[in-house]
């Protein structure tokens, strides 16, 4: 037993520790069963769920870059019905928090998915994905306009049946404090940041974008310093005073990276791309974070949050 108290209170939930796996990078968690015991994590976040199943974008959907990768999956998912029928029963057997990531083309769709799911057992909360750069209608357009963010948040919130609603912010804005504030005004219980940065890789021989979707979202270690900055901005400008916790993500691969996000202002952290390089990455991060606290003499992990000098 470690002497470090890893428990985190987050948007009304009591978590074992601050480490999650990120939406779109851990499927519906059963895919990771062979490699990772999700019960060792604070929680996990489902792939975005839409009302109807989505095939998503054509291939190629991913391409690697220097210290990162682009993806344009296009919210491929099995849809609400199959999620409830096939996946929820498996999910309920896990003993850790799970946020369902909500996506849609119109506000009504978000509301419908949330209200259908809020009555279901085994779901801890919702993450509002208004920031996916890979879907043409909806998606990123919601995510850059504070008025829209406030509107969608306030309309989805009542559909959550009292469960916490976390709003996932896009980094691709001039002033992230404004979008963060809008989410808080709309009633967000937590903020998660960041989603991916819009980017493009061109095959110089064919002179064509490598991704079928032409552009994709940049994730991975390359984006970490930008994500840390944005978390610290939102924490200082908005979240701290509003008492709204932040889930930080973007390029986290080990305990020190996670500590950096927490010091910047995050209460929890999320592991995305790192899982692709190592399916048990999130558990390794959690182990590393505990070791870091031990070696620094930190008794409660939650003390890290916002402790930036």
């Amino acid at each position: 037993m470690s002497i470090v108290n890893e428990k985190i209170e987050f948007a009304g939930l009591n978590l074992k520790n601050p480490v999650f796996t990120a939406s779109g990078t851990c499927g519906y968690i059963d895919e990771l069963d062979d490699y990772l015991d999700v019960n060792q994590l604070g929680g996990w976040i489902t792939k975005s769920i839409t009302l109807k199943p989505r095939l998503g974008n054509p291939a190629p959907r991913v391409v690697e870059t220097n210290g990162g990768m682009l993806n344009a999956i296009g919210l491929a998912n099995i849809g609400l019905e199959e999620f409830i029928a096939e996946k929820l029963p498996i999910i309920r057997q896990k003993n850790t928090a799970v946020f369902v990531n909500l996506a849609g083309q119109k506000i009504d769709e978000y509301v419908e998915v949330a209200s259908r799911l809020s009555g279901q057992d085994g779901i801890s909360g919702f993450e509002l994905n208004i920031s996916c750069p890979n879907v043409k209608q909806g998606g990123i357009s919601f995510g850059t306009d504070p008025a829209q963010i406030k509107k969608i948040t306030s309309e989805v919130k009542p559909a959550c049946g009292g469960k916490p609603l976390m709003v996932k912010l896009t980094p691709s804005v001039t002033d992230i404090s404004k979008t963060a504030e809008a989410a808080v005004l709309g009633g967000a219980d937590a903020l998660s940041l960041v989603n991916t940065f819009t980017a493009m890789v061109i095959d110089v021989h064919t002179r064509t974008p490598v991704l079928a979707n032409r552009t994709g979202g940049l994730s991975g270690p390359a984006i970490k310093p930008m994500a840390v900055y944005l978390v610290s901005r939102v924490y200082q400008d908005v979240a701290k005073d509003a008492g709204i916790p932040i889930m930080g993500l973007g390029g986290i691969r080990n305990g020190l990276d996670a500590a950096e996000f927490m010091i910047a202002g995050a209460s929890t952290v999320c592991i995305g791309t790192a899982t692709f390089a190592r399916p048990d990455a999130a558990v390794k991060v959690s182990d590393g974070l505990r070791r870091f606290c031990e070696s620094e003499g930190i008794k409660k992990i939650s003390e890290l949050t916002g402790s930036l000098n």
């Binding site: 779109g24 499927g27 792939k47 291939a59 190629p60 991913v62 391409v63 870059t65």
Partner: protein, 305 residues
């Protein structure tokens, strides 16, 4: 396609050796011990593994065309099918044949005996065993050759009476990932000695016939006096080639398995990057995952008839 075994994991492997054939191709041998060895004992031909390339040295003496292309910092693993897997005392040896095309393959090619590499695997579904008594015809192109060679070799190892035929194609001799070809020897007396027939084709005629390996196969089959019902095809290679093989197979009525290659990030079914569009039995469009449902598929599933 064989069932995915459940013992896949992340294992540290030791490099047992590497052999370079020109600037483009190398063969790498890895040793797995303990749990890694246990997992790979259950691996079968056509399955693959994800090899760590981050943190490996970028060789300083890359050929000119590759220098700029390989100068990048990778974070993802790289998928490779197996050339062979066999026990070595308590340990298991995993061999791959690597086509050096970018930063990851260049880094792998620079490995030396004793280096450590993390391997995630075995992954996916490999080639299904043929029905009893059926002859197996392997047809492969370029870097698709190793898994097919592995499959045929393993079948003959398991059953010395198994009849196999092999057809290999590549752009040129220098691109053909067969050790004996690179060494100027005859594959029929070397790694393909277990095959009843081996033939090759290259685009430029520098090895085997000049032309397409599918044509070599077709004209051979026309004269071989084999009944399609007694045969199965196992194929791997570029998609246009696999499509052509599928069409021929469907026409002749031979069952064919094809191994596909897609860009993969995770290799384990979580990222949804490696989709293979298929039609469901009800005609509904659907995406399968190359890493989980494949890489080996029934030809009728992925290439409309």
């Amino acid at each position: 396609m064989t069932n995915k075994n459940n013992r896949s994991g992340v294992f540290e492997a030791s490099v047992a050796g590497s052999e370079h054939f020109g600037e483009k191709i190398c063969r790498l041998k890895f040793v797995l011990s303990g749990e890694g060895a246990d997992a790979f004992k259950l691996a079968s031909p056509g399955e693959f593994a994800q090899f760590q390339v981050e943190g490996l040295a970028l060789p300083s003496n890359l050929p000119e065309g590759l220098e700029d292309r390989a100068f990048r910092q990778p974070i993802l693993r790289r998928p490779f099918s197996f050339l062979d897997i066999y026990p070595y005392g308590e340990d298991m040896i995993v061999e791959i044949m690597c086509d050096i095309i970018g930063t990851g393959t260049a880094r792998l090619s620079g490995l030396r005996a004793g280096d450590k590499v993390s391997i995630l695997g075995p992954l996916g579904r490999g080639f299904a065993k043929p029905e009893k008594g059926k002859k197996v015809i392997g047809i492969a192109g370029g870097i698709g050759i190793p898994p097919v060679e592995h499959f045929l070799r393993q079948l003959c190892r398991d059953n010395p009476k198994q009849e196999c035929f092999a057809f290999a194609g590549a752009r040129s001799r220098a691109d053909m990932p067969i050790a004996s070809v690179q060494q100027g020897k005859n594959p029929e007396n070397q790694e393909y000695s277990f095959c009843k027939h081996f033939a090759a084709a290259t685009d430029d005629g520098s090895f085997g016939d000049k032309g397409l390996v599918t044509e070599v196969f077709e004209s051979w089959f026309a004269g071989a006096g084999l009944s399609p019902a007694d045969c199965e095809i196992a194929a791997c290679g570029p998609e246009p080639m696999l499509r052509a093989i599928a069409q021929t197979a469907h026409k002749l009525g031979i069952r064919a398995q094809v191994s596909l290659e897609k860009m993969m990030a995770c290799g384990i079914g979580v990222c949804q990057s490696c989709i293979v569009p298929v039609k469901s039995q009800l005609g509904r469009e659907q995406n399968k995952l190359c890493c989980k449902d494949g890489p080996v598929f029934d030809s009728r599933e992925v290439f409309a008839e």
